[in-house]
Symmetry: C2
Subunit: 351 residues, 2 copies
């Protein structure tokens, strides 16, 4: 039988690990909370699975451990922070929280962050805004990595650049998180580790052929990820990736032109307060109406009903809250030696 | 030999038609200018080809002819206008121009518009902001039309919802305009009129099969457009379409929940001033660097070099400015009888 853990047990475990690893206690609390949030939502490659890497980076000084974020620019609705490679999870949470507060005062507000450490699961931060009745846009790119080819090319120039957007309805919020590439680095890595193929021809080889073979990414010369839309409609994913690059590294004023050699995220966060536009009630009436229309849309015979983005994650989270979380089996064994070194006991499953 | 027209001749013709059709002269000027702009950029289904329909709607009162736009909400960085089915081209231009002015003061600013008439070519409005050094987001949906199925469904529930984004670089601006559906209504309509097929399986039939046959849209029961990403990756296009619906009808506070039976657009415009973030110089350095890296990316042997979104349109516009515009052959004949009725002479080609 799979061990299940109370979410609160895992949050305490995460907080304990990061506090022992050297983060200030408020940062440790946030990092533990939002990594576990990703596991609760079922995004288990971007939850506690990230903790060993973070703890190693903390120890090696590749994640800064203080809270002295430099403010590069600051107006009521437009700010830039230099994260200095501090915890990206903490910075992303802090930026959504701050942008939400500013949006409530002004109608909308944006914060761009340069040089954050890894921000993990974008979808996990969206409810910070949607629970306050706000819509939120969260975008990230990594200027030290090239993985995706521009449409028409075969050479990687940018990252899969996820675009996440959350908004409230008169029922559940809608939580969108789409990569602008045809697939994600996590999925390609897993397929390669298992010696398998991707579910579709989402990569391009140096001859310009679409392929499902993850080995092309490691050949010499290497292939690249295709943008969303693939060989024929990839101009669309390319366009989305460029929007993400402009909002993140462009507005943050730091990115590929600076040739960073340390892994790190450029981040853009914006919150919108519907109350300052046509009103929160009207907003939720429209978004709720469309959500219901989509869920009720006809499907092919015997197909499952239409789900909205976030429906699956929210259902998994509710189940995890009620029944405990079944962590991916690789996660706790990977953390065990680090936890022992830090003197943090492994979490006890619920009985 | 194809007749070519000076852009200024066509703008004067457009202005003349709309002024004679009843629009105030400043509106007629803008509508003529931006329809011709679409033709210059090569988006010839959304240029003067739209004029006969607009003039008919003006005559029938389905496009309002005065300039009394109602302000529903107004804060320095967040406003909502009720377009009352006034010219969408004029409203979209006016909103980009006003959002640009407000972004220059505040860092960013957004305007949502309910009940605009058709806004034509989104890409044509982007330079209004990029020429001022600003980035701009322009999104539209039509709450009276259902054409695209949600991912996992076979029944249309929303429109192809284009997302346009423009930004300056240290060279040419990047002008992105992507539909969140796998293809556009214009392309499907043209394929059907010619008795042909689409270039890809971008529609879904009621049995849930992807198809390139545009007749499925008119069958009983009808099929629908697939979201960007098609049958397997369509959750991404579905997500983008929902973002567009939330920004347009959601923030404007009027949309599908109100069951409008008149064709009309919900519009969202936002401008960003890089100067208020990490600085305009840093922004253009980053965006210019990436544009050059993408243009220089390796391609498959014998493939064309990579082009950035907007490169083709800007090249066509430069050629049109130098050599005149070769209008699509259907455009002037369609306008001739209306122009004659309105007493507006047909434009003379350059000699």
């Amino acid at each position: 039988m799979t061990a299940r853990f109370d979410a609160s047990t895992l949050r305490a475990y995460g907080r304990g690990l990061f506090a022992a690893g050297g983060l200030p206690s408020d940062q440790a609390e946030i990092v533990g909370r939002y990594l576990v949030e990703a596991d609760l939502m079922g995004h288990d490659t971007h939850g506690l699975a990230q903790a060993p890497g973070y703890l190693k980076d903390l120890r090696a000084g590749r994640m800064a451990a203080d809270s002295d974020v430099a403010v590069v620019a600051d107006r009521p609705v437009a700010a830039v922070w230099d994260g200095g490679y501090r915890s990206g999870v903490w910075l992303a949470w802090k930026a959504v929280d701050e942008a939400a507060r500013r949006a409530e005062r002004n109608g909308l507000a944006a914060i761009a962050i340069r040089r954050a450490h890894h921000i993990a699961c974008l979808a996990a931060f969206l409810p910070v805004a949607t629970e306050r009745g706000l819509a939120v846009l969260l975008v990230s790119s990594d200027p030290s990595v090239r993985a995706v080819a521009p449409h028409g090319g075969v050479e990687a120039q940018f990252t899969p650049n996820p675009i996440a957007f959350g908004y409230p309805t008169d029922g559940d919020p809608v939580l969108i998180d789409v990569s602008s590439a045809a697939t994600t680095m996590a999925l390609a890595g897993r397929a390669r580790a298992e010696g398998g193929r991707l579910p579709g021809p989402w990569l391009v080889d140096p001859a310009g052929r679409a392929t499902d073979d993850p080995d092309t990414l490691f050949a010499d010369p290497p292939g690249a990820f295709l943008p969303l839309g693939g060989l024929d409609r990839g101009h669309k994913g390319f366009g989305l990736a460029l929007i993400a690059e402009a909002l993140t590294s462009g507005l943050a004023g730091f990115g590929r032109a600076d040739g960073p050699d340390q892994w790190g995220a450029s981040v853009f966060v914006q919150c919108f307060d519907p109350e300052a536009f046509g009103g929160r009630a009207a907003f939720e009436r429209e978004t709720g109406w469309l959500a219901r229309a989509c869920r009720a849309a006809k499907t092919a015979p015997d197909a499952d009903p239409v789900r909205l983005p976030g429906d699956g994650a929210l259902a998994r989270k509710r189940r995890a809250d009620a029944e405990g979380v079944a962590l991916h089996p690789s996660i706790l064994p990977a953390l065990a030696p680090i936890a022992a070194e830090l003197g943090v006991p492994q979490p006890e499953p619920r009985t």
